[in-house]
């Protein structure tokens, strides 16, 4: 029989099959596995909500426990592969195929499983790209999501870590899929409705709150003087001359150092109000001193951060909050904001090659992309002008007609020439290339393509790639800030000196920065406790970051 509402009928059958396990929509945690066995069909596309922060951990364990004669060969479509259960699904045969975006803590195991053929890989995406595919060709049949609380009708309060939930539910519920939510508690009235009840089919009360990783907390005590120096170079060499007001920061210590130098070094340069006023950024604790000093006007966030809830609630002029007062984050919207409404991305990476391509993949680890490629890419669809965007565009194409010339997003890679464990940041060939060959991938996993990168900042100076006119100049500009790495030592000294005369490379002294001034005493906060003090006691850091 052909029809036009087969999917809806199938969805209703699934819901009916699961209806026996609870009262109304509410299902007990102990029945979660039986519910999943009733609702999920072999080969289904399933989104098991795993973001880079919050995790539907109870539903992960429940899915792992299914009878694999009933549920098998699933196609997992989820942004984060973070819990060990996410990969255990493939070991057990519950799942077969995977499309994802980020796999931070599981990066080594996922690499081993890909080499071992345990996982059939669709692709590694950026967040925005995977979300987009939810609406085109990777629409989930079943979504397993996490929320803080639900009422009996199924209205969900996701709390500050809303993250991916609205996007996942939108794609699933409006295309005849089934939405199952794990919640920390069932309440009479939810503090605010993040997901309306008619998009939620089952609620499972978890015995423990869902897991949230404090991924964006950088202890100021671990910031090095090298990172203080690169932060000074970035502020004086890039933020100031371009007047960058709208931006996104990566999560590394280099950008945490920048955040902590705004109220000290930045203030001394008279930059307050002229730079770093509007952010697409998670609630980084390291930004508290800049916020408290009146630098930051507005922040939209992908997710939240453990310990920041009370601070955010008390600073609603800065953050996006709901009628209940708590943060409302949204990864998809914030990624779009970072792509289209920010003039700069600055972040660190693990490897940069001679063309400026960068990657966080090593031959034994596949960490995925997360959001960096969306943040760190020129948005070709952008049409609104801004001072930094136009200035960067003019530097790249000084002879083009101003009215027809695209602007350029500033995409800055920042790091010390030798990173963690003295591994060089600059390489002739990325490990990602070797990995692509070993896995027979059609594309090497490049985090940020060289043609999007506009600046590289190291302790040796700032390289402005927009001003390079040939591939050879570009290579020498990169070698010229690569310090004593193999790549740096193979520079053409004459050419590097000429690039410096043209301002393509600027050394600390060219920017009026004395390297000896790069001292930790410049940091507005030097410890987590300092951050607590700056926040007036509103920031409550997780225990693992305390030293008192």
């Amino acid at each position: 029989m052909t029809g036009w509402q087969n999917n809806r009928a199938a969805r209703d059958e699934r819901i009916a099959a699961g209806a026996g396990f609870g009262h109304g929509k509410v299902v007990q945690a102990r029945d979660a596995t039986r519910l999943l066995e009733a609702v999920i069909r072999p080969g289904d596309r399933v989104c098991l909500e795993g973001d880079n922060q919050k995790q539907a951990d109870l539903l992960s364990r429940a899915l792992l426990a299914v009878d694999i004669s009933r549920v098998n060969d699933l196609h997992m479509v989820q942004s984060g592969v973070v819990l060990s259960e996410h990969l255990d699904l493939f070991d057990r045969g519950v799942a077969k195929r995977l499309d994802y975006a980020y796999s931070g803590p599981q990066s080594a195991r996922i690499a081993r499983m890909l080499f071992g053929g345990k996982i059939e890989l669709g692709a590694v995406h950026t967040y925005l790209e995977l979300f987009a595919r939810y609406f085109i060709d990777l629409t989930p049949h079943v979504a397993l999501v996490a929320a803080v609380s639900a009422d009996r009708e199924g209205n969900l309060y996701t709390g500050p870590n809303t993250e991916d939930t609205p996007t996942v539910v939108e794609a699933t519920a409006f295309k005849d899929g089934v939405v199952i939510a794990q919640v920390n508690e069932i309440v009479e009235t939810v503090p605010r409705v993040d997901i309306p009840a008619d998009r939620v089919h089952f609620i499972v009360k978890a015995d423990q709150p869902f897991f949230v990783e404090p991924l964006f907390t950088r202890d100021p005590a671990a910031i090095t003087e090298g990172q203080v120096l690169t932060a000074m170079l970035a502020i004086k060499g890039i933020y100031a001359p371009y007047g960058v007001q709208r931006l996104n920061h990566g999560i590394g210590f280099s950008t945490a150092a920048i955040e902590l130098l705004l109220p000290t070094f930045g203030e001394r340069l008279g930059l307050k109000g002229r730079i770093a006023t509007h952010f697409a950024l998670n609630p980084h604790p390291a930004l508290i001193p800049a916020i408290e000093s009146g630098w930051v006007r507005q922040i939209h966030s992908f997710g939240s951060e453990v310990g920041m809830d009370d601070y955010i609630r008390a600073r609603s002029d800065v953050y996006f909050t709901g009628p209940d007062g708590s943060l409302r984050s949204n990864r998809a919207f914030c990624q779009a904001a970072g792509l289209y409404a920010c003039d700069m991305f600055i972040g660190s990476t693990l490897q940069i090659d001679l063309q400026g391509n960068s990657s966080t993949v090593t031959t034994s680890r596949i960490a995925g992309f997360g959001g960096a490629p969306n943040m760190g890419a020129d948005a070709r669809g952008r049409r609104h002008p801004s001072v930094p965007w136009l200035k960067a565009g003019a530097e790249a194409d000084p002879d083009g007609a101003a009215l027809l010339r695209r602007g350029r997003k500033l995409v800055v890679q920042i790091g010390e020439t030798f990173g963690d464990k003295n591994v060089p940041l600059f390489v002739e060939n990325l490990d990602a290339m070797e990995l692509a060959e070993k896995l027979n991938l059609e594309l090497a996993p490049i985090m940020i393509y060289g043609d999007d990168v506009t600046h590289i900042v190291t302790e040796e100076g700032v390289a402005n790639l927009l001003l390079c006119r040939t591939a050879q100049e570009r290579e020498q500009a990169i070698r010229g800030v690569a310090g004593y790495t193999e790549v740096g030592r193979r520079r053409d000294h004459g050419m590097v000196e000429r690039l410096r005369e043209r301002g393509v490379i600027r050394r600390p002294e060219d920017l009026g920065i004395n390297v000896l001034d790069a001292d930790r005493s410049l940091l507005a906060a030097r410890s987590i406790k300092d951050l607590v003090r700056w926040s007036g006691g509103l920031y409550a850091p997780p225990s693992k970051f305390r030293n008192w």
Partner: protein
């Protein structure tokens, strides 16, 4: 915004420099009267560890400890400072011998106090036998120096804390000053967790680590005599105060110390958490101790009054 360093007086620098963050050299430079430090067996002599090269590990020309003499408020003092950023300040053969030698010199002279700026995770695994022997020699040297009339003051406030053999040596000192960041113990958190399980001690619960081994708890227990705020100047003032406070060393003092420790074990031996100890000690809202600002904490600790001044 901190002013450029060159425009500041030594006292201002000592006041604005975090002891926790400073290197061993900076600590000594600012702790002692300006320009008074004279180092023994300095890095120019390159007395490096004979063991580390076997493991292809980097050496440090002073083997991670500075020993010397200088002046504190005009009076002579012997000093030793461990560099917590080199191998976690751990004791090796040369490192230990330098401290032993300093203490023996102090014993010979008999009147000049010794300041030990601890910053150590204990004994270096790569030279464990030599390191363990060094700990024993140092403990003996501390006791012999004290018996000869020398005041041996320990200052604890570095990143690596004061662990392992360092904790044992600290226990032998005439008096200790500790900051909030300072930790004093023998077995470290990870060691306890490894041997006794995470249920016994979760080393990643840093609030637990600090309220069990940290400066505030050590001060309230009487294991440390003074609580210092984190600047080098605070430690300088604490050192001066302790030199003034330490009384004569003898059998009576040791007996009193034994009684103090036995009493501590009787009163608190069954407690499962430091908060219980603080509560039994009569501190209201004991759970707020970790959050208490320094000045309020010092007032509280002085009121509780437990100190080993009559003991040790």
């Amino acid at each position: 915004m901190t002013a450029p360093l060159r425009d500041m007086t030594p006292a201002e620098r000592a006041r604005s420099t975090s002891f926790y963050e400073a290197s061993a050299r900076t600590r000594l430079e600012l702790l002692l009267d300006a320009g008074s430090l004279i180092e023994f067996i300095g890095p120019e002599q390159r007395e490096v560890s004979p063991h580390l090269r076997i493991f292809d590990l980097p050496e440090q020309f002073d083997d991670g400890i500075i020993v010397g003499h200088g002046r504190l408020d005009g009076s002579p003092a012997f000093v030793a400072a461990q560099e917590g950023r080199f191998m976690g300040g751990a004791f090796g053969e040369v490192h230990g011998a330098k401290l032993t030698g300093l203490l023996r010199a102090a014993r010979e002279i008999g009147t000049i106090p010794v300041l030990i700026l601890f910053d150590t995770g204990g004994v270096r695994l790569q030279e464990a036998n030599a390191g363990e022997l060094a700990i024993a020699e140092i403990m003996r040297a501390v006791m012999e120096a004290r018996a000869a009339g020398v005041k041996v003051i320990g200052l604890v406030g570095g990143r690596s804390g004061c662990y392992g053999g360092g904790g044992l040596i600290a226990g032998c000192c005439s008096a200790l000053a500790v900051s909030e960041f300072g930790r004093i113990a023998v077995s470290g958190p990870e060691v306890i967790e490894t041997n006794r399980g995470v249920e016994e001690f979760d080393s990643r619960d840093r609030a637990l680590v600090w309220r069990t081994m940290g400066g505030k708890h050590r001060r309230l227990l009487g294991a440390a005599d003074l609580f210092a705020d984190d600047s080098v100047q605070d430690f300088r003032e604490a050192a001066l105060e302790l030199i003034g406070l330490v009384g004569p060393f003898g059998l009576d003092g040791l007996k009193a110390e034994q009684e103090r420790l036995a009493d501590r074990l009787r009163r608190f031996g069954a407690c499962l958490d430091a908060v219980e100890i603080w509560t039994i000690s009569g501190i209201a809202h004991a759970e707020t101790i970790p959050e208490l600002p320094t000045d309020q904490f010092i007032a509280l600790a002085d009121r509780i009054g437990r100190t080993s001044r009559d003991a040790r």
